[in-house]
């Protein structure tokens, strides 16, 4: 069979697969409904139910006798990761002083885009804290999240900064409704709450917000319902939202995110390959709103130190895929055994560093990270000049300009 026929067949397969996809209707409103994933809706429903159950528990336990609104402003908890002020001045470039044997530059890309406009809905809550408990090796052994958002679903919808084309109508009702319907009611002082045991979640409303504490049902769901209720008792409201005043022993705040996530501005990526389908990329961005601690929600991640900063080493990383600068991440067939390793941390100037790799051992990856040294754009360009193939033109977009492109052998 010729490659031409193979491609035609593959194209036809894709055309067939999308032929049945419903076309979302279009709203003419400049701020239209955003497409919501059924999975997210279900997830939110589950969480709502969990909250409802928890509220019931709280009611029985009298845990929520306290008025959250009257609590003092939260004092900052000890975070796993430092919080740096926004980046100012020239962009930071880092180049490896030592490159693993056999690897050479395959691409250098950069953009001056601000990285805004990347919206990721957390469901019906707009803010979330990720709390984790780590073992001695830095691996997470327990986790829970504290999430909150506008209880009025329509109001939350309208506040969504995205301007989607698709047509779903603004939701109606309150976020707590699902918990009320599926959960167990509990009395929480002045707040009515609900608990859903199956979701290990507790939810309530206060000051117009829905607040949810949950472990989910994954491998890091080490806390039971009683513990969740205890956490809920310690949730305090402050000017910027909510936090847990006294988390369970060993738990620390790993990340706080909103539903507006961005990898950061001025994305610049230096990628290497070994000619065998393996490679690694060093991606630098300014002021990322996607903190490394998010990955500690995965049991196979680990907290380590790199260049004097806490970093997360993980075989997976949300957002990592076989894009243009990381084609080496594309699996070679469905059972590609090549391990992936990701390493992310934040430099003191608030430059987010993410190294994505295939074919590197942990030791090689850590050595690579530790070998990074401040560089310049010119030096990066010189590295790009070594690419086996150079693209003469930019990609023709205001978001990405390809400085140099090499082929992945």
């Amino acid at each position: 069979m010729s490659i031409d026929v193979r491609l035609e067949r593959a194209a036809e397969s894709v055309r067939r697969s999308v032929a049945a996809v419903p076309i979302p209707s279009v709203s003419r409103s400049p701020r239209v409904a955003r497409r919501r994933r059924p999975g997210l809706v279900v997830a939110f429903s589950v969480l709502t139910a969990v909250v409802m159950i928890s509220v019931a528990t709280f009611a029985l336990s009298g845990f929520f006798d306290r008025d959250h609104a009257r609590r003092p402003t939260s004092s900052p908890m000890e975070d796993l990761f430092p919080r740096f002020p926004n980046h100012v001045g020239a962009d930071l470039y880092l180049s490896p002083r030592e490159v693993p044997a056999g690897f050479s530059t395959i691409s250098v890309t950069g953009t001056t885009a601000d990285g805004s406009g990347v919206y990721g809905s957390l469901g019906e809550t707009q803010h979330s804290q990720q709390w984790v408990q780590l073992d001695a090796s830095g691996a997470p052994i327990g986790a829970f999240t504290l999430s909150w958002g506008n209880n009025d679903l329509a109001a939350a919808w309208k506040a969504d900064p995205s301007v989607p084309v698709t047509d779903l109508q603004p939701p109606t009702g309150d976020a707590i409704d699902r918990y009320r319907a599926a959960g167990t009611p509990v009395t929480l002082g002045d707040h009515a709450g609900y608990s859903i045991e199956a979701e290990r979640s507790v939810a309530w409303t206060e000051h117009g917000d829905v607040v949810v504490v949950s472990t989910g049902s994954g491998p890091l769901a080490a806390l039971d319902r009683v513990a969740l209720i205890d956490i809920a008792r310690n949730v305090v409201r402050h000017a910027d939202g909510y936090t847990v005043e006294h988390p369970p022993a060993g738990y620390r705040l790993a990340a706080q995110v909103t539903n507006t996530l961005s990898d950061g501005a001025h994305e610049r990526v230096l990628a290497y390959g070994d000619g065998q389908g393996h490679g690694f990329s060093i991606k630098l961005t300014n002021d990322s709103s996607y903190p490394p601690g998010v990955e500690l929600a995965n049991p196979d991640a680990r907290l380590i130190a790199v260049r004097g900063q806490p970093a997360v080493l993980s075989p997976r990383r949300a957002g990592a895929g076989c894009g243009a600068a990381e084609r080496f991440l594309c699996p070679i067939g469905p059972t590609d055994p090549t391990p992936r390793l990701f390493l992310q941390w934040v430099e003191p100037d608030n430059t987010n560093v993410l190294i994505a790799s295939t074919g590197l051992t942990e030791a090689e990856l850590r050595a690579l990270a530790d070998s990074l040294a401040p560089s310049t754009l010119d030096q990066w360009m010189q590295l790009g000049a070594r690419c086996p193939e150079r693209a003469a033109s930019a990609l023709g977009t205001d978001e990405v300009s390809l400085v140099c492109e090499g082929t992945t052998p």
């Binding site: 003419r28 999975g39 894009g323 084609r327």
Partner: protein, 170 residues
């Protein structure tokens, strides 16, 4: 395509959107690894088209424009954040959608391993059956460059997929 010659006076963004959505989605599907990501990318491209509709419908080819946006934005890795970050914190990672056709999945997986330009050219050529000049217009490159990327991409695919390459441009 919903280009100027097709979009008549009174035709709207909606018309373009409805006629092009699936075809643009197909392009996004093959250039992205994840189906959900492709859907997001497609919608976002149409959002961008919607925002610029007055200008684009008057002076440019909307169909080409939206394909160019998809082709270029598929390059940007942050695109995936939008898909994969959702629910990650609270509910754990979502697995990516499976391809219904393993052979097609293998072919497009290899296409994505080509250089950006080669992948874009092949996707536009085979999915939409576009001529070299049309692909060139979408990607804002010249015809000769399209031919070069097409030939090199096909040759590379033939090698990795163990197929023959007749080297006949479609």
């Amino acid at each position: 395509m919903c280009d100027q010659t097709v979009v008549q006076v009174g035709d709207t963004f909606d018309d373009c959107y409805r006629s092009e959505y699936r075809r643009v989605l197909a392009l996004a599907v093959v250039l992205c690894r994840d189906r959900h990501e492709a859907e997001d990318l497609t919608q976002d491209a149409f959002v961008a088209l919607h925002r610029n509709w007055e200008r684009i419908s008057g002076f440019e080819d909307p169909g080409a424009w939206v394909r160019r946006v998809v082709a270029n934005r598929s390059v940007s890795r942050w695109r995936r954040l939008r898909t994969e970050a959702r629910g990650l914190v609270r509910l754990g990672r979502q697995e990516e959608a499976e391809w219904p056709d393993p052979d097609a999945a293998a072919v497009w997986s290899e296409v994505r391993r080509l250089s950006v330009r080669q992948a874009q050219v092949i996707a536009l050529t085979y999915l939409d059956g576009l001529a070299v000049s049309e692909v060139a217009r979408i990607l804002a490159i010249n015809d000769a460059t399209v031919k070069t990327h097409l030939q090199r991409g096909r040759r590379a695919l033939a090698e990795v997929l163990r197929e023959t390459d007749g080297d006949d441009l479609p």
